[in-house]
Protein backbone atom coordinates (compact mmCIF):
# COMPACT_ATOMS: atom_id res chain seq x y z
CA UNK A 1 0.00 0.00 0.00
CA UNK A 2 2.60 2.56 1.04
CA UNK A 3 4.61 1.76 -2.09
CA UNK A 4 1.73 3.06 -4.17
CA UNK A 5 1.32 6.36 -2.34
CA UNK A 6 2.76 8.47 -5.20
CA UNK A 7 0.09 7.33 -7.64
CA UNK A 8 -2.70 7.27 -5.04
CA UNK A 9 -2.02 10.96 -4.54
CA UNK A 10 -3.38 11.54 -8.04
CA UNK A 11 -5.80 8.62 -8.44
CA UNK A 12 -7.89 9.35 -5.35
CA UNK A 13 -8.95 12.88 -6.33
CA UNK A 14 -9.34 11.75 -9.96
CA UNK A 15 -11.84 9.07 -8.94
CA UNK A 16 -13.56 11.38 -6.48
CA UNK A 17 -14.42 13.84 -9.27
CA UNK A 18 -17.05 11.67 -11.06
CA UNK A 19 -18.43 10.61 -7.66
CA UNK A 20 -18.96 14.26 -6.78
CA UNK A 21 -20.65 14.87 -10.12
CA UNK A 22 -22.94 11.85 -9.61
CA UNK A 23 -23.97 12.92 -6.10
CA UNK A 24 -27.38 14.55 -6.27
CA UNK A 25 -27.02 16.68 -3.19
CA UNK A 26 -24.44 19.35 -2.58
CA UNK A 27 -23.69 18.16 0.95
CA UNK A 28 -22.83 14.63 -0.19
CA UNK A 29 -20.53 16.00 -2.88
CA UNK A 30 -18.95 18.21 -0.25
CA UNK A 31 -18.43 15.20 2.00
CA UNK A 32 -16.62 13.36 -0.78
CA UNK A 33 -14.47 16.40 -1.55
CA UNK A 34 -13.63 16.79 2.15
CA UNK A 35 -12.64 13.14 2.54
CA UNK A 36 -10.53 13.44 -0.63
CA UNK A 37 -8.71 16.58 0.37
CA UNK A 38 -7.90 15.26 3.85
CA UNK A 39 -6.72 11.91 2.48
CA UNK A 40 -4.44 13.60 -0.05
CA UNK A 41 -3.06 15.82 2.71
CA UNK A 42 -2.31 12.74 4.81
CA UNK A 43 -0.60 11.07 1.83
CA UNK A 44 1.46 14.19 1.13
CA UNK A 45 2.70 14.28 4.74
CA UNK A 46 3.62 10.59 4.55
CA UNK A 47 5.49 11.19 1.30
CA UNK A 48 7.40 14.17 2.69
CA UNK A 49 8.40 12.15 5.76
CA UNK A 50 9.58 9.29 3.55
CA UNK A 51 11.54 11.56 1.20
CA UNK A 52 13.23 13.23 4.15
CA UNK A 53 14.34 9.94 5.65
CA UNK A 54 15.00 7.81 2.55
CA UNK A 55 15.66 10.22 -0.32
CA UNK A 56 13.74 10.64 -3.61
CA UNK A 57 11.01 8.15 -4.46
CA UNK A 58 10.64 6.80 -7.99
CA UNK A 59 7.43 5.06 -8.99
CA UNK A 60 7.05 3.30 -12.35
CA UNK A 61 3.48 3.73 -13.52
CA UNK A 62 1.93 0.40 -14.53
CA UNK A 63 5.23 -1.35 -13.87
CA UNK A 64 6.87 0.11 -17.00
CA UNK A 65 10.32 1.29 -16.04
CA UNK A 66 11.57 4.75 -17.04
CA UNK A 67 12.53 6.13 -19.54
CA UNK A 68 10.02 4.12 -21.60
CA UNK A 69 7.20 4.20 -19.07
CA UNK A 70 5.87 7.19 -17.19
CA UNK A 71 7.78 7.76 -14.01
CA UNK A 72 6.38 9.48 -10.94
CA UNK A 73 9.27 10.99 -9.12
CA UNK A 74 9.04 12.69 -5.76
CA UNK A 75 11.99 14.55 -4.35
CA UNK A 76 12.12 17.04 -1.53
CA UNK A 77 10.86 19.97 -3.62
CA UNK A 78 7.87 18.11 -5.05
CA UNK A 79 6.96 16.62 -1.66
CA UNK A 80 7.08 20.13 -0.18
CA UNK A 81 4.83 21.53 -2.93
CA UNK A 82 2.47 18.55 -2.46
CA UNK A 83 2.13 19.44 1.23
CA UNK A 84 1.39 23.08 0.31
CA UNK A 85 -1.28 22.24 -2.27
CA UNK A 86 -3.03 19.50 -0.29
CA UNK A 87 -2.73 21.48 2.94
CA UNK A 88 -4.50 24.45 1.38
CA UNK A 89 -7.06 22.04 -0.10
CA UNK A 90 -7.66 20.46 3.31
CA UNK A 91 -8.31 23.88 4.87
CA UNK A 92 -10.35 25.35 2.01
CA UNK A 93 -12.75 22.41 1.60
CA UNK A 94 -14.37 22.70 5.08
CA UNK A 95 -14.62 26.44 4.41
CA UNK A 96 -16.31 25.80 1.07
CA UNK A 97 -19.51 24.30 2.52
CA UNK A 98 -21.17 27.52 3.72
CA UNK A 99 -19.49 29.87 1.31
CA UNK A 100 -20.46 27.83 -1.75
CA UNK A 101 -24.06 27.37 -0.56
CA UNK A 102 -24.35 31.15 -0.41
CA UNK A 103 -22.63 31.97 -3.71
CA UNK A 104 -23.58 29.13 -6.08
CA UNK A 105 -27.03 27.85 -6.97
CA UNK A 106 -27.92 24.49 -5.41
CA UNK A 107 -28.17 22.51 -8.67
CA UNK A 108 -24.58 23.33 -9.63
CA UNK A 109 -22.97 22.55 -6.28
CA UNK A 110 -22.14 18.83 -6.96
CA UNK A 111 -20.54 19.90 -10.26
CA UNK A 112 -18.65 22.62 -8.46
CA UNK A 113 -17.04 20.06 -6.16
CA UNK A 114 -16.32 17.77 -9.12
CA UNK A 115 -14.40 20.60 -10.83
CA UNK A 116 -12.74 21.51 -7.55
CA UNK A 117 -11.43 17.97 -7.00
CA UNK A 118 -10.32 17.76 -10.65
CA UNK A 119 -8.37 20.98 -10.24
CA UNK A 120 -6.68 19.42 -7.20
CA UNK A 121 -5.89 16.30 -9.28
CA UNK A 122 -4.21 18.38 -11.97
CA UNK A 123 -2.13 20.40 -9.54
CA UNK A 124 -0.97 17.29 -7.68
CA UNK A 125 -0.26 15.50 -10.97
CA UNK A 126 2.05 18.26 -12.20
CA UNK A 127 3.93 18.00 -8.95
CA UNK A 128 4.43 14.22 -8.76
CA UNK A 129 5.16 13.39 -12.38
CA UNK A 130 8.62 12.89 -13.80
CA UNK A 131 7.47 12.93 -17.43
CA UNK A 132 7.28 16.21 -19.35
CA UNK A 133 4.28 15.33 -21.51
CA UNK A 134 2.42 14.19 -18.42
CA UNK A 135 3.06 17.66 -17.02
CA UNK A 136 1.16 19.14 -19.97
CA UNK A 137 -1.79 16.76 -19.53
CA UNK A 138 -2.14 17.51 -15.82
CA UNK A 139 -1.62 21.20 -16.52
CA UNK A 140 -4.63 21.15 -18.82
CA UNK A 141 -6.72 19.16 -16.32
CA UNK A 142 -6.06 21.75 -13.64
CA UNK A 143 -6.46 24.71 -15.99
CA UNK A 144 -9.70 23.59 -17.63
CA UNK A 145 -11.32 22.92 -14.27
CA UNK A 146 -10.02 26.26 -13.00
CA UNK A 147 -11.66 28.09 -15.96
CA UNK A 148 -14.95 26.36 -15.16
CA UNK A 149 -14.66 27.20 -11.45
CA UNK A 150 -13.94 30.87 -12.13
CA UNK A 151 -16.87 31.05 -14.54
CA UNK A 152 -19.20 30.07 -11.68
CA UNK A 153 -18.80 33.49 -10.03
CA UNK A 154 -21.97 35.48 -9.35
CA UNK A 155 -20.96 38.56 -11.31
CA UNK A 156 -21.31 38.22 -15.09
CA UNK A 157 -17.80 39.60 -15.40
CA UNK A 158 -16.69 36.23 -14.00
CA UNK A 159 -17.58 34.77 -17.41
CA UNK A 160 -15.41 37.17 -19.36
CA UNK A 161 -12.64 36.73 -16.80
CA UNK A 162 -12.82 32.95 -17.23
CA UNK A 163 -12.82 33.35 -21.04
CA UNK A 164 -9.80 35.63 -20.96
CA UNK A 165 -8.00 33.17 -18.68
CA UNK A 166 -8.94 30.33 -21.03
CA UNK A 167 -7.43 32.11 -24.04
CA UNK A 168 -4.22 33.13 -22.29
CA UNK A 169 -3.88 29.85 -20.44
CA UNK A 170 -4.31 27.82 -23.63
CA UNK A 171 -1.68 29.92 -25.40
CA UNK A 172 0.65 29.24 -22.48
CA UNK A 173 -0.07 25.51 -22.50
CA UNK A 174 0.40 25.32 -26.28
CA UNK A 175 3.76 27.08 -26.00
CA UNK A 176 4.75 24.50 -23.40
CA UNK A 177 3.79 21.63 -25.75
CA UNK A 178 5.82 23.17 -28.57
CA UNK A 179 8.81 23.41 -26.21
CA UNK A 180 8.36 19.80 -25.11
CA UNK A 181 8.06 18.68 -28.75
CA UNK A 182 11.33 20.39 -29.67
CA UNK A 183 13.10 18.74 -26.75
CA UNK A 184 11.70 15.40 -27.89
CA UNK A 185 12.94 15.98 -31.46
CA UNK A 186 16.47 16.49 -30.22
CA UNK A 187 16.63 13.80 -27.55
CA UNK A 188 13.88 11.24 -28.21
CA UNK A 189 12.98 11.19 -24.55
CA UNK A 190 10.22 12.61 -22.38
CA UNK A 191 11.53 11.49 -19.01
CA UNK A 192 12.88 14.39 -16.95
CA UNK A 193 15.90 12.62 -15.49
CA UNK A 194 16.75 11.15 -18.88
CA UNK A 195 16.28 14.52 -20.61
CA UNK A 196 18.64 16.30 -18.24
CA UNK A 197 21.42 13.82 -19.06
CA UNK A 198 20.76 13.87 -22.83
CA UNK A 199 20.48 17.66 -23.01
CA UNK A 200 23.71 18.10 -21.11
CA UNK A 201 25.47 15.82 -23.63
CA UNK A 202 23.95 17.70 -26.54
CA UNK A 203 25.02 21.15 -25.38
CA UNK A 204 23.50 24.41 -26.64
CA UNK A 205 21.84 23.87 -29.99
CA UNK A 206 19.44 26.11 -31.88
CA UNK A 207 16.41 23.84 -31.44
CA UNK A 208 17.06 23.49 -27.73
CA UNK A 209 17.46 27.25 -27.38
CA UNK A 210 14.10 27.78 -29.13
CA UNK A 211 12.49 25.11 -26.92
CA UNK A 212 13.89 26.95 -23.92
CA UNK A 213 12.29 30.19 -25.17
CA UNK A 214 8.88 28.60 -25.74
CA UNK A 215 8.94 26.97 -22.31
CA UNK A 216 9.97 30.21 -20.62
CA UNK A 217 7.10 32.17 -22.17
CA UNK A 218 4.56 29.38 -21.67
CA UNK A 219 5.34 28.82 -18.02
CA UNK A 220 5.56 32.56 -17.36
CA UNK A 221 2.03 32.92 -18.74
CA UNK A 222 0.82 30.25 -16.34
CA UNK A 223 2.52 31.74 -13.31
CA UNK A 224 1.49 35.32 -14.21
CA UNK A 225 4.96 36.83 -14.43
CA UNK A 226 4.71 40.57 -14.86
CA UNK A 227 3.81 41.44 -18.47
CA UNK A 228 1.89 38.16 -18.85
CA UNK A 229 -0.28 38.57 -15.74
CA UNK A 230 -3.28 40.23 -17.43
CA UNK A 231 -5.62 37.27 -16.88
CA UNK A 232 -5.03 37.17 -13.14
CA UNK A 233 -6.70 40.27 -11.57
CA UNK A 234 -10.12 39.71 -13.17
CA UNK A 235 -10.04 35.96 -12.54
CA UNK A 236 -9.28 36.40 -8.84
CA UNK A 237 -11.74 39.26 -8.41
CA UNK A 238 -14.86 37.66 -9.87
CA UNK A 239 -14.35 33.99 -9.00
CA UNK A 240 -16.37 32.57 -6.06
CA UNK A 241 -14.60 33.26 -2.73
CA UNK A 242 -13.62 29.63 -2.16
CA UNK A 243 -12.15 29.35 -5.65
CA UNK A 244 -10.13 32.54 -5.25
CA UNK A 245 -8.71 31.34 -1.94
CA UNK A 246 -7.80 27.95 -3.39
CA UNK A 247 -6.44 29.04 -6.77
CA UNK A 248 -4.55 32.04 -5.44
CA UNK A 249 -2.82 29.84 -2.90
CA UNK A 250 -2.01 26.90 -5.19
CA UNK A 251 -2.21 27.35 -8.97
CA UNK A 252 0.52 29.95 -9.43
CA UNK A 253 2.69 28.12 -6.87
CA UNK A 254 2.54 24.93 -8.92
CA UNK A 255 3.46 26.96 -12.02
CA UNK A 256 6.51 28.28 -10.16
CA UNK A 257 7.33 24.66 -9.28
CA UNK A 258 7.15 23.85 -13.01
CA UNK A 259 9.58 26.67 -13.72
CA UNK A 260 12.02 25.26 -11.16
CA UNK A 261 11.62 21.74 -12.54
CA UNK A 262 12.22 22.72 -16.16
CA UNK A 263 15.05 25.19 -15.65
CA UNK A 264 16.95 23.58 -12.79
CA UNK A 265 16.30 19.85 -13.15
CA UNK A 266 15.90 19.44 -16.92
CA UNK A 267 17.98 22.20 -18.51
CA UNK A 268 20.33 22.48 -15.55
CA UNK A 269 21.70 25.53 -13.79
CA UNK A 270 24.66 25.88 -16.14
CA UNK A 271 22.54 25.98 -19.31
CA UNK A 272 19.73 28.14 -17.87
CA UNK A 273 21.82 30.74 -16.13
CA UNK A 274 25.31 30.67 -17.67
CA UNK A 275 24.50 29.93 -21.32
CA UNK A 276 20.99 31.37 -21.68
CA UNK A 277 21.37 33.97 -18.92
CA UNK A 278 17.78 33.55 -17.82
CA UNK A 279 18.44 35.70 -14.76
CA UNK A 280 18.91 38.76 -16.98
CA UNK A 281 15.32 38.38 -18.17
CA UNK A 282 13.71 37.24 -14.93
CA UNK A 283 15.36 39.68 -12.55
CA UNK A 284 14.17 42.94 -14.20
CA UNK A 285 10.68 41.51 -14.77
CA UNK A 286 10.47 40.36 -11.14
CA UNK A 287 11.55 43.78 -9.89
CA UNK A 288 9.09 45.60 -12.17
CA UNK A 289 6.34 43.24 -10.97
CA UNK A 290 7.17 43.86 -7.32
CA UNK A 291 7.20 47.64 -7.60
CA UNK A 292 4.51 48.45 -10.18
CA UNK A 293 1.97 45.85 -9.07
CA UNK A 294 2.30 46.93 -5.42
CA UNK A 295 1.72 50.47 -6.64
CA UNK A 296 -1.33 49.47 -8.68
CA UNK A 297 -2.71 47.55 -5.68
CA UNK A 298 -2.74 50.76 -3.65
CA UNK A 299 -5.27 52.38 -6.00
CA UNK A 300 -7.82 49.56 -6.16
CA UNK A 301 -11.29 50.02 -4.71
CA UNK A 302 -12.21 46.33 -4.74
CA UNK A 303 -10.27 44.52 -2.02
CA UNK A 304 -10.14 41.19 -3.86
CA UNK A 305 -8.70 42.98 -6.90
CA UNK A 306 -6.21 44.73 -4.64
CA UNK A 307 -5.09 41.37 -3.26
CA UNK A 308 -4.90 39.98 -6.81
CA UNK A 309 -2.46 42.71 -7.88
CA UNK A 310 -0.57 42.09 -4.68
CA UNK A 311 -0.35 38.42 -5.71
CA UNK A 312 1.35 39.39 -8.97
CA UNK A 313 3.84 41.39 -6.91
CA UNK A 314 4.39 38.45 -4.57
CA UNK A 315 5.02 36.14 -7.54
CA UNK A 316 7.68 38.69 -8.41
CA UNK A 317 9.38 37.94 -5.07
CA UNK A 318 9.46 34.21 -5.85
CA UNK A 319 10.90 34.81 -9.32
CA UNK A 320 13.41 37.23 -7.81
CA UNK A 321 14.61 34.48 -5.49
CA UNK A 322 14.94 32.10 -8.44
CA UNK A 323 16.78 34.63 -10.61
CA UNK A 324 19.40 35.15 -7.91
CA UNK A 325 20.51 31.60 -8.82
CA UNK A 326 22.16 31.05 -5.47
CA UNK A 327 21.25 28.66 -2.67
CA UNK A 328 20.13 31.49 -0.38
CA UNK A 329 18.04 33.17 -3.06
CA UNK A 330 16.45 29.92 -4.12
CA UNK A 331 15.70 29.02 -0.50
CA UNK A 332 13.97 32.38 -0.19
CA UNK A 333 11.98 31.75 -3.36
CA UNK A 334 10.85 28.26 -2.27
CA UNK A 335 10.05 29.53 1.23
CA UNK A 336 7.95 32.28 -0.26
CA UNK A 337 6.09 29.66 -2.26
CA UNK A 338 4.95 28.09 1.01
CA UNK A 339 4.54 31.32 2.93
CA UNK A 340 2.62 33.18 0.26
CA UNK A 341 0.16 30.28 0.01
CA UNK A 342 -0.54 30.72 3.73
CA UNK A 343 -0.72 34.52 3.49
CA UNK A 344 -2.98 34.84 0.46
CA UNK A 345 -5.07 31.87 1.55
CA UNK A 346 -5.93 33.52 4.84
CA UNK A 347 -6.49 36.97 3.30
CA UNK A 348 -8.82 35.71 0.57
CA UNK A 349 -10.68 33.53 3.07
CA UNK A 350 -11.23 36.57 5.30
CA UNK A 351 -12.62 38.36 2.24
CA UNK A 352 -14.89 35.35 1.66
CA UNK A 353 -16.30 35.87 5.18
CA UNK A 354 -16.99 39.52 4.32
CA UNK A 355 -18.63 38.46 1.06
CA UNK A 356 -20.80 35.99 3.00
CA UNK A 357 -22.24 38.63 5.32
CA UNK A 358 -21.99 41.89 3.38
CA UNK A 359 -22.30 40.63 -0.20
CA UNK A 360 -19.57 42.92 -1.49
CA UNK A 361 -15.83 43.31 -1.16
CA UNK A 362 -15.70 46.94 -2.30
CA UNK A 363 -13.65 48.95 0.15
CA UNK A 364 -16.59 51.29 0.86
CA UNK A 365 -18.72 48.34 1.98
CA UNK A 366 -16.26 47.64 4.80
CA UNK A 367 -16.99 50.77 6.83
CA UNK A 368 -17.30 49.89 10.49
CA UNK A 369 -16.77 46.17 9.93
CA UNK A 370 -14.06 46.16 12.61
CA UNK A 371 -16.85 46.33 15.21
CA UNK A 372 -19.43 44.18 13.46
CA UNK A 373 -17.15 41.35 12.34
CA UNK A 374 -14.22 41.58 14.78
CA UNK A 375 -12.81 38.07 14.18
CA UNK A 376 -12.96 38.34 10.40
CA UNK A 377 -11.25 41.69 10.29
CA UNK A 378 -8.69 40.56 12.90
CA UNK A 379 -7.85 37.65 10.57
CA UNK A 380 -7.46 40.13 7.70
CA UNK A 381 -5.15 42.33 9.77
CA UNK A 382 -3.08 39.33 10.88
CA UNK A 383 -2.78 38.11 7.28
CA UNK A 384 -1.95 41.66 6.22
CA UNK A 385 0.85 41.89 8.77
CA UNK A 386 2.25 38.68 7.36
CA UNK A 387 1.99 40.05 3.80
CA UNK A 388 3.92 43.14 4.86
CA UNK A 389 6.58 40.97 6.47
CA UNK A 390 6.38 41.93 10.13
CA UNK A 391 8.71 39.82 12.32
CA UNK A 392 7.09 36.71 13.88
CA UNK A 393 5.08 36.12 10.69
CA UNK A 394 5.97 33.93 7.71
CA UNK A 395 6.23 36.95 5.41
CA UNK A 396 9.24 38.10 7.40
CA UNK A 397 11.09 34.79 7.03
CA UNK A 398 10.94 34.66 3.24
CA UNK A 399 11.78 38.34 2.77
CA UNK A 400 14.71 37.90 5.15
CA UNK A 401 16.15 35.15 2.95
CA UNK A 402 15.48 37.10 -0.24
CA UNK A 403 17.28 40.15 1.12
CA UNK A 404 20.17 37.98 2.33
CA UNK A 405 20.35 36.44 -1.14
CA UNK A 406 20.43 39.87 -2.80
CA UNK A 407 23.09 41.17 -0.42
CA UNK A 408 25.17 38.01 -0.92
CA UNK A 409 25.36 39.01 -4.60
CA UNK A 410 26.11 42.58 -3.56
CA UNK A 411 22.91 43.86 -5.17
CA UNK A 412 21.87 46.24 -2.42
CA UNK A 413 19.46 48.22 -4.71
CA UNK A 414 17.47 44.99 -5.08
CA UNK A 415 17.31 44.61 -1.31
CA UNK A 416 16.20 48.26 -1.04
CA UNK A 417 13.42 47.64 -3.58
CA UNK A 418 12.18 44.62 -1.58
CA UNK A 419 11.92 46.86 1.49
CA UNK A 420 10.25 49.67 -0.47
CA UNK A 421 7.61 47.29 -1.83
CA UNK A 422 6.94 46.07 1.72
CA UNK A 423 6.16 49.66 2.65
CA UNK A 424 3.68 49.81 -0.24
CA UNK A 425 2.03 46.71 1.21
CA UNK A 426 1.65 48.66 4.46
CA UNK A 427 -0.20 51.34 2.51
CA UNK A 428 -2.74 49.10 0.81
CA UNK A 429 -3.42 46.95 3.88
CA UNK A 430 -3.78 50.12 5.93
CA UNK A 431 -6.45 51.48 3.56
CA UNK A 432 -8.67 48.54 4.48
CA UNK A 433 -7.82 48.76 8.18
CA UNK A 434 -8.64 52.47 8.22
CA UNK A 435 -12.04 51.98 6.62
CA UNK A 436 -12.92 48.96 8.75
CA UNK A 437 -11.82 50.30 12.13
CA UNK A 438 -11.90 54.08 11.99
CA UNK A 439 -14.94 54.86 9.88
CA UNK A 440 -18.51 54.50 11.06
CA UNK A 441 -20.73 52.07 9.23
CA UNK A 442 -23.76 53.32 7.28
CA UNK A 443 -26.35 53.28 10.08
CA UNK A 444 -27.45 50.30 12.13
CA UNK A 445 -27.66 47.31 9.84
CA UNK A 446 -28.30 44.47 12.26
CA UNK A 447 -28.12 41.82 9.51
CA UNK A 448 -24.34 42.16 9.38
CA UNK A 449 -22.92 40.09 12.20
CA UNK A 450 -19.84 37.93 12.68
CA UNK A 451 -19.32 35.25 10.02
CA UNK A 452 -20.36 31.68 10.97
CA UNK A 453 -17.80 29.47 12.70
CA UNK A 454 -17.68 27.15 9.68
CA UNK A 455 -15.97 29.98 7.81
CA UNK A 456 -14.03 31.49 10.71
CA UNK A 457 -12.33 28.32 11.94
CA UNK A 458 -10.61 27.42 8.62
CA UNK A 459 -9.60 31.06 8.17
CA UNK A 460 -8.04 31.16 11.62
CA UNK A 461 -6.29 27.83 11.10
CA UNK A 462 -4.39 29.46 8.23
CA UNK A 463 -3.79 32.66 10.23
CA UNK A 464 -2.42 30.53 13.05
CA UNK A 465 -0.15 28.74 10.55
CA UNK A 466 1.11 32.18 9.46
CA UNK A 467 2.36 32.82 12.97
CA UNK A 468 3.41 29.27 13.81
CA UNK A 469 5.75 28.98 10.82
CA UNK A 470 6.84 32.56 11.37
CA UNK A 471 7.97 31.89 14.94
CA UNK A 472 9.38 28.39 14.43
CA UNK A 473 10.68 28.32 10.89
CA UNK A 474 13.14 25.44 11.38
CA UNK A 475 10.98 22.93 9.48
CA UNK A 476 10.25 25.12 6.45
CA UNK A 477 13.74 26.60 6.13
CA UNK A 478 15.34 23.18 6.51
CA UNK A 479 13.21 21.62 3.76
CA UNK A 480 13.44 24.66 1.46
CA UNK A 481 17.20 24.89 2.01
CA UNK A 482 17.74 21.22 1.22
CA UNK A 483 15.50 21.45 -1.86
CA UNK A 484 17.43 24.53 -3.04
CA UNK A 485 20.78 22.78 -2.59
CA UNK A 486 19.66 19.77 -4.58
CA UNK A 487 18.26 22.03 -7.35
CA UNK A 488 21.57 23.87 -7.57
CA UNK A 489 23.23 20.51 -8.11
CA UNK A 490 24.96 20.39 -4.74
CA UNK A 491 24.66 17.16 -2.79
CA UNK A 492 21.79 17.56 -0.30
Amino acid sequence: MTAHLPVLQVIIPLLAAPLCALARRGRIAWGIALATSWTTFWIAIQLLARVRSEGPISYALGGWAAPVGIEYRIDLLSAFVLVIVTGIGAVVTPYALKSVEREIEAAKIPLFYAAFVLCLTGLLGITVTGDVFNVFVFLEISSLSAYALIGLGQDRRALTAAFQYLIMGSIGATFIVIGIGMMYVMTGSLNMADLSVLLAELGPNRTIVVAFGFLTVGISLKLALFPLHLWLPNAYTYAPSTVTAFIAATATKVAVYMLLRFFFTIFGVVFSFDVMQLDRVLLPLALIAIVTMSLVAIFQTNVKRMLAYSSVAQIGYMILGISLASVTGLTGGILHLFNHALIKGSLFMAMGCVMYRVGSVEIDAMRGLGKKMPWTMAAFVAGGLSLIGVPLTVGFISKWYLILGALERGWWPVAALILAASLMAVVYIWRVVEVAYFQEGPGEDSSIVEAPLALLIPTWVLVFANFYFGIDATFTTEVAGAAARSLMGLVP
Binding site: V137, T160, I167, S170, I171, T174, T301
Partner: protein
Protein backbone atom coordinates in the same frame (compact mmCIF):
# COMPACT_ATOMS: atom_id res chain seq x y z
CA UNK B 1 18.83 24.56 -46.51
CA UNK B 2 16.28 22.32 -48.11
CA UNK B 3 13.20 24.51 -47.97
CA UNK B 4 10.81 22.14 -49.69
CA UNK B 5 12.00 19.22 -47.59
CA UNK B 6 10.87 21.07 -44.52
CA UNK B 7 7.43 21.77 -46.02
CA UNK B 8 5.55 20.48 -42.97
CA UNK B 9 7.48 22.72 -40.63
CA UNK B 10 6.77 25.76 -42.78
CA UNK B 11 3.09 24.81 -42.65
CA UNK B 12 3.38 24.55 -38.88
CA UNK B 13 4.91 28.02 -38.57
CA UNK B 14 2.38 29.53 -40.98
CA UNK B 15 -0.64 28.02 -39.23
CA UNK B 16 0.71 28.91 -35.82
CA UNK B 17 1.17 32.56 -36.80
CA UNK B 18 -2.26 32.72 -38.48
CA UNK B 19 -3.94 31.30 -35.38
CA UNK B 20 -1.99 33.55 -33.07
CA UNK B 21 -2.82 36.61 -35.17
CA UNK B 22 -6.54 35.80 -35.12
CA UNK B 23 -6.36 35.40 -31.34
CA UNK B 24 -4.80 38.81 -30.91
CA UNK B 25 -6.62 40.82 -33.57
CA UNK B 26 -10.22 39.54 -33.44
CA UNK B 27 -12.69 41.05 -30.98
CA UNK B 28 -15.37 38.46 -31.63
CA UNK B 29 -15.18 35.73 -29.01
CA UNK B 30 -16.24 32.93 -31.40
CA UNK B 31 -13.55 33.97 -33.86
CA UNK B 32 -11.06 33.95 -31.00
CA UNK B 33 -11.95 30.30 -30.37
CA UNK B 34 -11.44 29.59 -34.08
CA UNK B 35 -8.03 31.24 -33.85
CA UNK B 36 -7.18 29.19 -30.80
CA UNK B 37 -8.12 26.03 -32.68
CA UNK B 38 -5.91 26.88 -35.66
CA UNK B 39 -3.11 27.69 -33.24
CA UNK B 40 -3.43 24.37 -31.42
CA UNK B 41 -3.84 22.38 -34.63
CA UNK B 42 -0.54 23.72 -35.94
CA UNK B 43 1.18 21.98 -33.04
CA UNK B 44 -0.43 18.70 -34.07
CA UNK B 45 1.31 19.05 -37.44
CA UNK B 46 4.63 19.69 -35.71
CA UNK B 47 4.33 16.51 -33.67
CA UNK B 48 3.04 14.34 -36.49
CA UNK B 49 5.80 15.52 -38.84
CA UNK B 50 8.55 14.76 -36.36
CA UNK B 51 7.49 11.12 -36.08
CA UNK B 52 7.49 10.53 -39.85
CA UNK B 53 10.45 8.78 -41.44
CA UNK B 54 10.78 8.99 -45.22
CA UNK B 55 9.87 5.61 -46.69
CA UNK B 56 8.77 4.35 -43.30
CA UNK B 57 5.64 2.26 -42.95
CA UNK B 58 2.99 2.22 -40.28
CA UNK B 59 4.37 0.93 -36.97
CA UNK B 60 2.80 -2.54 -37.12
CA UNK B 61 4.71 -5.65 -36.10
CA UNK B 62 5.43 -7.68 -39.26
CA UNK B 63 7.91 -10.17 -40.64
CA UNK B 64 11.40 -8.83 -41.19
CA UNK B 65 12.63 -5.49 -39.94
CA UNK B 66 10.93 -2.70 -41.90
CA UNK B 67 11.59 0.99 -41.35
CA UNK B 68 8.57 2.41 -39.56
CA UNK B 69 7.45 5.83 -38.35
CA UNK B 70 7.80 6.69 -34.68
CA UNK B 71 4.34 6.11 -33.18
CA UNK B 72 4.99 7.95 -29.93
CA UNK B 73 4.46 11.55 -31.17
CA UNK B 74 1.25 10.41 -32.85
CA UNK B 75 -0.03 8.96 -29.61
CA UNK B 76 0.98 12.07 -27.72
CA UNK B 77 -0.93 14.21 -30.16
CA UNK B 78 -4.05 12.09 -29.72
CA UNK B 79 -3.98 13.25 -26.12
CA UNK B 80 -3.41 16.83 -27.21
CA UNK B 81 -6.37 16.59 -29.63
CA UNK B 82 -8.60 15.50 -26.75
CA UNK B 83 -7.33 18.42 -24.71
CA UNK B 84 -8.02 20.73 -27.66
CA UNK B 85 -11.58 19.45 -27.98
CA UNK B 86 -12.17 19.96 -24.25
CA UNK B 87 -10.76 23.49 -24.44
CA UNK B 88 -12.94 24.34 -27.43
CA UNK B 89 -16.05 22.92 -25.76
CA UNK B 90 -15.43 24.84 -22.56
CA UNK B 91 -14.58 28.01 -24.47
CA UNK B 92 -17.73 27.83 -26.59
CA UNK B 93 -19.93 27.12 -23.57
CA UNK B 94 -18.46 30.17 -21.89
CA UNK B 95 -19.28 32.16 -25.05
CA UNK B 96 -22.90 30.92 -24.83
CA UNK B 97 -23.09 32.01 -21.19
CA UNK B 98 -21.52 35.37 -22.05
CA UNK B 99 -24.10 35.85 -24.81
CA UNK B 100 -26.90 35.10 -22.32
CA UNK B 101 -25.50 37.54 -19.79
CA UNK B 102 -24.49 40.39 -22.10
CA UNK B 103 -26.48 39.85 -25.29
CA UNK B 104 -23.32 40.17 -27.40
CA UNK B 105 -20.10 38.31 -28.15
CA UNK B 106 -18.09 41.34 -29.26
CA UNK B 107 -15.29 42.15 -26.84
CA UNK B 108 -15.66 45.94 -27.31
CA UNK B 109 -19.39 45.89 -26.58
CA UNK B 110 -18.86 43.76 -23.48
CA UNK B 111 -16.20 46.18 -22.29
CA UNK B 112 -18.58 49.14 -22.81
CA UNK B 113 -21.39 47.34 -20.96
CA UNK B 114 -19.08 46.62 -18.04
CA UNK B 115 -17.96 50.24 -17.89
CA UNK B 116 -21.56 51.49 -18.04
CA UNK B 117 -22.61 49.25 -15.13
CA UNK B 118 -19.55 49.82 -13.02
CA UNK B 119 -19.91 53.59 -13.42
CA UNK B 120 -16.18 53.98 -13.14
CA UNK B 121 -16.07 52.39 -9.67
CA UNK B 122 -13.88 49.59 -10.87
CA UNK B 123 -10.62 51.10 -12.03
CA UNK B 124 -7.99 48.76 -13.25
CA UNK B 125 -5.25 51.33 -13.62
CA UNK B 126 -3.71 53.67 -11.12
CA UNK B 127 -4.01 56.61 -13.52
CA UNK B 128 -7.80 56.60 -13.53
CA UNK B 129 -7.72 56.11 -9.75
CA UNK B 130 -5.76 59.29 -9.39
CA UNK B 131 -8.08 61.15 -11.74
CA UNK B 132 -11.03 60.18 -9.58
CA UNK B 133 -9.32 61.62 -6.56
CA UNK B 134 -8.27 64.88 -8.18
Amino acid sequence: MNVMGLMNYWAFIFLMMVGFYILISQGNLVKKIVGLNVFQTSVFILYISMGKIRGGTAPILTEGDPIYSNPLPHVLILTAIVVGVATTALGLSLVVRIHEAYGTVEEDDIHDLDLAVAGGEDQSFPVSGMDARA
